[in-house]
């Protein structure tokens, strides 16, 4: 067994302190230890974006990030995006525009879309395409995803 170390970080707005093996990836910590299975494994090599989460306001592939590196940081996952009462506007837009088919890539896609919308005011469709290039989807052809992103951008304008 690999050695363990204690980390303290904020997960979806709440402080958390726990011991993790130094070789553990953030993706595995979320899925296997914390039961947060909304973040998906689809390649484990940072090539598909299905495991996208936000760390200190920036999106990362959680399959590439060691859990020990969460120490002192703020982690936002797909489960933390919504309030207990309502879907986040980006989530709602994905539902309303038919962007969800099998849905497996959608938590990562939504995390990335939300990041782009928050950090690029007036995000254009072309910019959104570039920004979502690292998120693979096999069902939708991305069109309805981009429709959803555009609708959120417009509602903010």
């Amino acid at each position: 067994m690999s050695p363990k170390t204690e980390i303290r970080f904020k997960l979806n707005g709440r402080e958390l302190q726990l011991e993790v093996p130094v070789t553990m990836k953030t993706l595995d910590l979320l899925r296997e230890r914390l039961g947060l299975t909304g973040t998906k494994y689809a390649c484990g090599e940072g090539e598909c974006g299905a495991c996208t989460v936000q760390v200190d306001g920036k999106t990362v592939n959680s399959c590439l990030m060691y859990a020990v590196d969460l120490d002192g940081r703020e982690l936002l996952t797909i489960e933390g995006l919504r309030t207990p009462q309502a879907l986040h506007p980006v989530q709602q837009a994905f539902v309303d525009h038919g962007a969800v088919q099998c849905g497996f890539c959608m938590p990562g896609m939504i995390m990335q879309a939300n990041y782009l919308i928050e950090n690029q005011p007036g995000l254009t469709r072309e910019q959104a395409k570039r920004g979502l290039e690292g998120n693979l989807c096999r069902c939708t052809g991305y069109t309805k995803v981009l429709d959803a992103v555009e609708s959120v951008v417009q509602s903010k304008a």
């Binding site: 299975t37 909304g38 539902v95 309303d96 038919g98 099998c102 959104a128 395409k129 693979l136 052809g141």
Partner: protein, 796 residues
């Protein structure tokens, strides 16, 4: 123009009959009921499932294409703490399964790189992986067969003892006098097309969880898209009866045909579960997924098509050689559809089709969206374009001249009752300004400049009402309405992301006048839901939609009869709308539906509203002769692709796609658009970038970095035109829709490439490397060579 407008939305007969009625849901945009939970990460996919006491199963793959196993020693693996079972070929001996019973879950001889030679069940994935590393296997490598041509040679190594000459399946269909038709042809095109290996790349990797109870019954949680025949196919791999299997289908991360057969990891999970007495989960990594999941069938198609000087097709012949791979799944059965396209794509009076599958030591193919037709249309649609140029005829005129009309019957007896090919051709061509642009781009080919524009049109025909390749193509539906007017539909129809959940809730809500949110689907447990043949053949909206509608109409009749009995209002004058029983004439509410349902229930002669239905489409079994009306409907689609080719790098950018598709009738507009856009993306990957690099049986690019899917920036805008041919047998007139988008796009791009550059690629994908090389070797007619183009671009 509204890019997603239906061609004739006013021709909706039921809306005329319901002039009184509330707005119909048919053709509206209905959200997928499961979308909110999927968008919030709440949905628990099979990949996410954990059961109490569950062990993790892991598979040892041979990693070599052809070998004898001299010795296998699992002693050290068994001794590792946390290991509960280690299985080898000896544990699956004699448990043959598969289409021709040529496969076993665990092998005692290696026939392809991903052959499963051992499996472990352990407390964790980590322990299971370490146990695999402790298994000692001594192999004696054997000479391999890596192309079907090599496999067909007399001196080729034999892959299966009981398939002499490596001969797998063979298909033939002949119609008319080929020699006479050839003699009567003024023009003949003759090409060899080589559709390649690609794979499904479901975002959720393959996964199965198996558990036996103490009565010997197996429960398997699986991604299967055909739960009922799945039992029949899985049972022999385990030596149990199909009746002793319960299939549960949790949400899946895509399927696209890849889960239309049993693959070894599923019986492996079950064998490990049986051995350990505990639930066992097998979940592939992405690397394992690339290597061990099925491919699209690769083929070598020698196709010839003839026509007269006036542009009338005279014959089409296809001689097809299929790389069977090491085992026979659905891949080598694609000639069943290939021959329908060969004989039915336009009016072809004389047909000669033959196909032979040859075993090789390559990965083996399953079914994949567009099954057989992706490969065939790649050939037929390019030859149509080539013939038009040979004759010197406008391609659109050539297509129209040979397009079938409603009521025509193909040589294989596909009865095209409602045929909208002409309307699809005219709509797509007009909307894209196809003919004018094609002439202009061809003329511009000789102009200087690095970037060339091209436009290409392709069409195809596909079954759109199932395909009766089994004894039945039917579906069972059970529908109940509770005391609160909440409806539960228990249906055999599987949801794999395609959106049958939205279609069924829409249809049932339409008939029973309740909100779609009040309709719940139960469709994921073979012990509960009745039989269905599975999600394939563009059949589910058609078949399951009909089943749901028929069940809803039975419930409606019972409810209105109840209203007549209790309220004295003649049932014939009543309707269900807005959660109430209303007078059909003026919509006046008579009684709330839930109140009526309770009155019907709690009375002297109590009754519950619960109905059953079994729907079998009016199609004929495929049969050995392949002459039968095997689908309840057929449909066409036409794609026009507009592209820009970088003649220096060979890169193709698809600027726009115009789609005109006969959908019968739009049911859920949002789902329909999504299926077309998504199907197109798979077809574009096939056309441009996806390519399994298999060298001597070994896959060299088992990751997304090296196996290139279409990403958001590469997806072109798609303009869609839905042609509503109003299929008499389909639900509300609908036809199946989901495969044509994947089938038609690749040859449309190929025809655009030819228009832009004069270059034709016969072996997809049309990668930059291939396109650049072809341009370099053939040169652009009249255009500058790439070196010159490079100099030009520097000055642009």
């Amino acid at each position: 123009m509204d890019p997603t407008a239906s061609s004739n939305p006013s021709s909706n007969p039921s809306s005329k009959a319901r002039a009184d009625a509330a707005p119909s849901l048919i053709g509206q945009r209905v959200k997928k009921p499961d979308a909110p939970d999927k968008a919030t990460g709440k949905t628990r996919y099979i990949n996410d499932m954990v059961l109490p006491q569950m062990l993790i199963g892991k598979v040892l793959f041979a990693g070599r294409p052809h070998a004898r196993i001299v010795r296998i020693d699992t002693t050290a693996a068994r001794a590792l703490p946390g290991v509960h079972a280690v299985l080898t070929g000896a544990d699956a001996a004699g448990l043959k399964f598969g289409f021709v019973r040529d496969n076993v879950a665990l092998k005692d001889r290696v026939r392809c790189e991903h052959d499963e030679v051992a499996a472990v069940a352990a407390e964790s994935e980590d322990i299971a992986a370490r146990a695999l590393a402790l298994i000692e296997v001594e192999y004696e490598d054997l000479p391999g067969v890596f192309t079907p041509e090599a496999g067909a040679r007399d001196d080729a190594p034999q892959i299966h003892d009981n398939f002499p000459g490596n001969r797998s399946l063979r298909f033939e269909f002949k119609h008319g006098d080929l020699a006479a038709a050839e003699a009567g042809s003024d023009f003949i095109v003759d090409n060899v097309f080589r559709p390649h290996h690609v794979t499904h790349c479901c975002m959720g990797t393959s996964c199965a969880i198996a558990d036996f109870d103490h009565n010997g019954k197996l429960t398997i949680w699986t991604q299967t898209q055909y739960p009922y025949n799945y039992k029949m196919d899985l049972a022999p791999a385990l030596g149990i009866g199909p009746g002793d299997i319960r299939v549960i289908q949790p949400p899946v991360g895509g399927a696209f045909g890849s889960k239309l057969d049993v693959y070894p990891y599923e019986p492996i999970a079950a064998l490990l579960a049986k051995k350990t007495g505990r639930p066992v989960k097998v979940l592939y990594t992405r690397g394992e997924e690339f290597k061990a999941s099925p491919t699209r069938q690769a083929a070598i198609i020698h196709m010839r098509t003839g026509c007269t000087r006036e542009g009338t097709l005279t014959f089409r012949s296809a001689d097809v050689l299929l790389d069977n791979g090491a085992y026979t799944s659905w891949g080598p059965t694609i000639p069943v559809i290939m021959m329908r396209t060969t004989s039915g794509h336009y009016r072809v009076p004389v047909v000669d089709f033959k196909a032979q599958a040859i075993y090789t030591n390559n990965p083996y193919a399953g079914s994949f969206r567009g099954y057989g037709n992706v490969q065939t249309t790649w050939a037929t649609a390019q030859q149509m374009d080539m013939l038009a140029d040979l004759i010197g005829m406008e391609p659109l005129d050539f297509h129209l001249k040979n397009a079938q009309l409603s009521g025509e019957v193909t040589p294989q007896k596909s009865y095209l009752r409602e045929c909208a090919l002409v309307e699809c051709l005219q709509t797509a061509a007009a909307a894209s300004d196809y003919s004018r642009k094609r002439r202009a781009y061809a003329a511009a080919r000789t102009q200087p400049g690095r970037f060339k524009k091209g436009i290409g049109l392709a069409s195809s025909i596909h079954n759109a009402g199932g395909a009766k390749i089994h004894k039945s193509d039917g579906i069972g539906t059970i529908l109940k309405v509770d005391d609160y007017a909440r409806v539960t539909v228990i249906t055999g129809a599987s949801e794999i992301g395609q959106g049958i959940d939205a279609v069924i809730t829409l249809i049932v809500a339409e008939e029973l006048g309740v909100p779609t949110e009040h309709v719940t689907l139960v469709n994921n447990d073979s012990d509960i839901a009745p039989w269905d043949v599975g999600v394939h053949a563009s059949r589910t909206t058609f078949i399951a939609g009909n089943g749901a509608r028929r069940a809803a109409l039975k419930a409606k009749a019972q409810i209105l009869a109840g209203a007549e009995k209790l309220l004295g209002e003649p049932a014939a004058g009543l309707a269900l709308r807005g959660g109430a029983v209303v007078r059909a004439q003026d919509g006046k509410e008579i009684i709330k539906l839930e109140r009526l349902l309770r009155q019907m229930h709690f009375q002297a002669e109590p009754e519950l509203v619960m109905v059953t239905d079994y729907y079998e489409p009016k199609s004929e079994p495929e049969g050995a002769s392949h002459v039968s009306d095997h689908s309840a409907a057929y449909a066409h689609a036409v794609h026009v692709a507009e592209i820009t080719v970088d003649t220096l790098t060979g890169e193709i950018k698809v600027d726009k796609v115009t789609v005109a598709q006969d959908v019968g009738r739009v049911i859920n507009r949002m789902g329909l658009e999504g299926q077309i856009e998504g199907g197109l993306a798979i077809g574009l990957g096939y056309a441009l970038s996806e390519d399994m690099r298999i060298e001597e049986g070994r896959l060299k690019n088992a990751c997304f970095r090296d196996y290139k899917l279409i990403t958001a920036p590469e997806m072109p805008p798609v303009e869609m035109h839905f042609i509503e041919s109003m299929c008499a047998e389909g639900p509300y007139g609908a036809k199946g829709i989901s495969e044509l988008p994947t089938i038609v796009i690749a040859p449309a791009v190929a025809n655009a490439l030819a228009n832009a550059t004069g270059v034709r690629i016969f072996d997809p994908p049309m990668s930059p490397e291939k396109v650049a090389r072809a341009i370099f070797e053939q040169g652009l007619p009249g255009a500058s060579q790439p070196e010159a183009a490079a100099r030009e671009s520097a000055t642009v």
